[in-house]
Symmetry: C2
Subunit: 324 residues, 2 copies
């Protein structure tokens, strides 16, 4: 993994992957007590940053391999990212999803042309299911985060952050990244280490699922030991990846852990002040920017909103809680 792979991924993404803007609001600055800039990857194709990695991985395959098709296992956002990337390449995609994933994510993945194979979360190891089908049909497995070309694709988000921050003359900042397996965090950290070395990346996780924060504290990979189910479903991976963790250990500051109630407030504030739709897992970094200022170095903070694939009923409930 190196910056050249990210630059190459950016070249392959040109005209395909959406360049998301860098947003801000004086109302958020006031809550945080510092300037807050938001990179809304919910506006990316398929509603999350995962399309970056999916496109990068598929476009890096040799055409013959790619034509046989790809397979992915995912709780939802990686599924949609890979499905849409395959659809745009005109090749088949099989997606292995937990049967209790949000209905919207399952439906979207099917609508994007993929064949969906469901499994029972906690009973069957999804990695084994994925590898078995891949072997039987000659498909290429696209791992959700522990895959160099996927990390390279997520890193293109970091290249954009570096460029957009430089345009605003921001060269030093804490950069908060929603962290599941660490693909986005590691990709952004690699990109910024090369392009904006005075920025420091901080992984953010929800309470109870702080495997990356604990691994960084311990200096070695540590799991959170919880079932992968909760409000922030998009980022509840059991442990950081074997490829992503050493990168984060080298390049990132300590992890930050936020509560579910802070995440719900962040979702409501992204609606009210930025006019964007954040899913809970996609709002953890904004929650850290707004409510964990004491864990951050002084100065501006840049935060990802990593996805927006939230069920309408949950979103309506969160808005109802936060009207006062």
């Amino acid at each position: 993994m190196n910056i050249d792979m990210i630059r190459a991924a950016a070249g392959r993404a040109k005209g395909i992957v959406r360049r998301t803007p860098l947003l801000s609001s004086p109302f958020l600055d006031e809550i945080a007590g510092r300037p807050v800039y938001v990179k809304p990857e919910c506006l990316q194709h398929t509603g999350s940053f995962k399309f970056r990695g999916g496109w990068s991985a598929l476009s890096a395959l040799d055409p013959e391999t790619r034509a046989r098709g790809v397979i992915a296992y995912s709780s939802g956002n990686h599924a949609q990212g890979v499905a849409h990337a395959a659809q745009r390449h005109g090749v088949p995609a099989v997606i292995v999803m937990p049967s209790d994933a949000p209905q919207l994510k399952i439906a979207n993945t099917r609508a994007l042309g993929a064949e969906v194979v469901l499994y029972e979360r906690g009973k069957e190891p999804r990695e084994e299911i994925g590898q078995a089908i891949a072997h039987d049909r000659g498909l290429t497995l696209i791992r959700p985060f522990d895959e160099p070309q996927v990390i390279a694709g997520q890193g293109t988000c970091g290249l954009e952050i570096a460029e957009q921050a430089a345009e605003m003359e921001i060269h030093e900042a804490e950069v908060l990244v929603c962290c599941g397996g660490g693909g986005l965090t590691a990709g952004i950290a690699l990109a910024l280490a090369a392009e904006a070395p005075r920025m420091r990346v901080r992984p953010v996780e929800p309470e109870g699922f702080d495997d990356t924060a604990r691994s960084l504290d311990a200096g070695q990979i540590t799991g959170h030991g919880q079932p992968e189910k909760g409000l922030c479903d998009a980022i509840l991976t059991p442990r950081p990846g074997d490829i992503t963790f050493p990168i984060m250990k080298d390049l990132c500051g300590p992890g930050i852990v936020v509560t579910e109630s802070q995440v719900r407030r962040a979702v409501a504030l992204a609606f009210l002040r930025l006019k964007i739709v954040a899913e809970p897992g996609g709002a953890v970094a904004l929650a850290a920017a707004l409510f964990h200022g004491d864990a951050l170095a002084p100065g501006p903070v840049i935060t990802t909103i990593s996805g927006g694939n939230i069920d309408p009923a949950l979103f309506a409930r969160i808005l109802s809680e936060h009207q006062g």
Copy 2:
């Protein structure tokens, strides 16, 4: 009014006004039966395109005049746009607002540093109130749409549409614009006439408030005769402007009228498929793109979402209606 004024406004807006992206979704394309591109001005500073016009008007004043301050009358979005533009220039702003405007818009306008003067809609003519205060305090009145520098500012949205469409190799399209007094419509029409002459601008209004559509049909300014109150509060002006109408008459195709129920569906679909927050008045053009294809020439359609300042309770209600 000419394209040079719009280009000059774009020059003054550089680094200040946000360049909003051009979004799309295969799900929306499928509903519309054609490619749909969405220009989400809800992502603009203050949550609507109105900041473009406010910034343009304030930045065009000579510094001495500007320092005395500005005044505006507005149901909400123009208020916030002018208030924020004044705040960033460090000059006072007085905003005359109807007392029944959405609470969120009144509160935001105050939080953006403006002095808010309330009046009773239907009882007192807001224009007279505005002009009286302007005269007493030596403030410059910034009209919401019938003001050349405001139209020039809104036109910068059209310059961006022309550039972004050209990058995607779209040179011919119907361009649907949410239309109140016609400032955004006229500005975009002027910009596209110069930069993308094979695009045709179409004003879109809600049922019952179709003064522009009727004026274009009649070839002269015609009011809708309704009180300015309804779901699409942002765009319920009684008649097109004396400056905006002749521009629209010269450059625009026939108006399109959508129902409130189509607007509510468009708000829900913008949430679900684009992950953005549209207010009802800001969603009329998307509603036309999705549900009035028979009124459009074949080929791609580009649609504005002009604002996202919707009360959370109404947004939650619309989401609850559209889950099936």
